[in-house]
Amino acid sequence: MIRILGAGVAGLTVATELAAAGAEVELVDPKGPGAASCSWWAGGMLAPFCEFENAEEPVMRLGQLAKAWWARFTEVIGAGTLVVAHRRDQADLRRFARRTEQFAPVTGAEISTLEPDLVGYDSGLFFESEAHLAPRQALADLVRHLDGQGIAIRPEPSAHPAERTIDCTGFAAREALSDLRGVKGEMLVIRAPDVAISRPVRLLHPRIPLYIVPRGDGVYMLGATMIETADRGRITARSMLELLSAAYALNPAFGEAEVLEIGVDVRPAFPNNLPKVRAKGSTIYANGLFRHGFLLAPALAKAVTDLVIHNRETELVDANHA
């Protein structure tokens, strides 16, 4: 029997893949899936090409698995990603275009056709093949899928001895993973029924890049800050100002939005910001999804399954760590 610790996006995808490979699986999380996992607060963008702007090549390549993987369990909206910048920040748009792939440049008129509520942008980039999902719904759908396989989330381990333990507890595994660090992220959920935006939009800015992800019914997620600290306390006034003023710049009608939620959590990250599978004794740690939880969890779960079931070390396996 394989015991999986943690029912965030990593633990749930690992459990799903291991069960699909025929393993007997036990999934343990004292708090259950929910606000205690940082994936609860995620954007849910399946945007391997946009993310490549500031990430290493595996993020783009492995991230391309995500769309089809998630579509098996939850609703994936394939509306693409629109990237825009203010006139004075056109240099950032040119740089973004140089650093990414699989997009079409769009004119102001084309932007208006894609998103009529984005006004005043002369040029942008459209990543048609990208998609997004609703993270909380996706987590719930995986829980339901596992339930259908007879795998329920247990608050504590059973008395059965486990042959292997897969630790998917994110930043909580810091004690065992000396090179894991926390990167604070802050996000807002707002309701602005007057604004209709149908796909994730990224607003480039030299200091405060922002994305906005529609959740339906006029609800939008605004994210997300990236601060090199493991402090998961509260949002700062500065972060809130930056997030809200960027939204206001996309469409002043966001000024009338209701703030529904403020989310703060810590992303677990290794020094190269790529996830790793690392064996220590009989425990295997699957961690370091950083800001790519939904994007890279399927690849991470596959790497765990390859290692545990097929004894095959793929690229995410961290064999050299002392």
Partner: protein
């Protein structure tokens, strides 16, 4: 090379630590460039020990750490941040940055002089981020600074040396003071030009961190500052208006 508060740098490159794609790339950029000094912003990363992992990584670079007060707009904020920095990094060095203008991030030189005095009196060794204004430079030295860091161009703009005339005048005005061009460097040629003016070091961040290949750009910057410094030491030729043939033509056998 002039010493910075008694410390001679092994290499005239100072690199910032913000905006890299990952800490692993940041570390590789330092290793490739051999930069002697790492500047670190304390303000965003949390003071209460929560930023520990990042600080440890900076310490592990094994270079001199120059904490900064980036993002501070008032004397009080800057002084508080400096105190925090001294505690976290156990160094009297502080890069004093007091922003006066939101769009250009131009330093507020009046508050800068005031904060420099307070911190120098408290025993800090202040590296003030300033403009190329000579009188402000004099006031900063009078306030206790022993280093001046004029801008090349606004922070993050990558425009190079906007006013070489004034930077040259500053070098001539303060012959014994270590001078660093801080901010505005976008290309290796900009960094080389600063060193050719006789500056003692160059401080840059975005040009490396936001390059498509930060590690390659770090190496390029290291070579550029080395080339510029060597060139300045080598007593370069004077430019002239007319050509001067490098071999004499008189008496040359030309009917061959």
């Amino acid at each position: 090379m002039r010493a910075f508060y008694g410390t001679t740098l092994a290499n005239p490159l100072m690199l910032g630590t913000a905006q890299y794609p990952s800490p692993a790339i940041l570390e590789a950029a330092f290793r490739e460039s051999g930069a002697a000094v790492a500047t670190v912003s304390l303000r965003r990363e949390g003071a209460d020990g929560a930023g520990q992992a990042f600080w440890e990584m900076i310490r592990a670079l094994n270079v001199l750490v120059l904490p900064n007060t980036a993002g501070c707009h008032t004397v009080k904020e800057a002084v508080t941040t400096a105190h925090m920095a001294r505690e976290v990094f156990d160094t009297p060095w502080i890069k004093l940055e007091l922003i006066g203008h939101t769009d250009s991030l131009q330093p507020d030189v009046f508050q800068l002089v005031e904060a420099a005095k307070i911190l120098s009196d408290e025993g800090f060794q202040v590296f003030p981020y300033t403009t190329e204004d000579l009188i402000v430079g004099e006031r900063l030295l009078a306030a206790g600074c022993e280093v001046l860091m004029p801008w090349g161009a606004p922070i993050g703009s990558g425009r190079g040396l906007n006013n070489t005339y004034a930077l040259r005048a500053m070098r001539a005005e303060f012959p014994d003071t270590p001078l660093v061009v801080d901010a505005g460097i976008g290309l290796p040629s900009h960094a080389a030009a600063a060193m050719e003016l006789g500056y003692d070091a160059v401080l840059l961040n975005t040009a490396v961190a936001k390059a498509g290949d930060p590690v390659a750009m770090a190496r390029a910057m290291a070579r550029a500052v080395e080339a510029g410094a060597l060139g300045a030491e080598a007593d370069p030729m004077e430019p002239r208006d007319m050509a001067e043939a490098s071999t004499p033509v008189i008496g040359k056998a030309f009917l061959s």
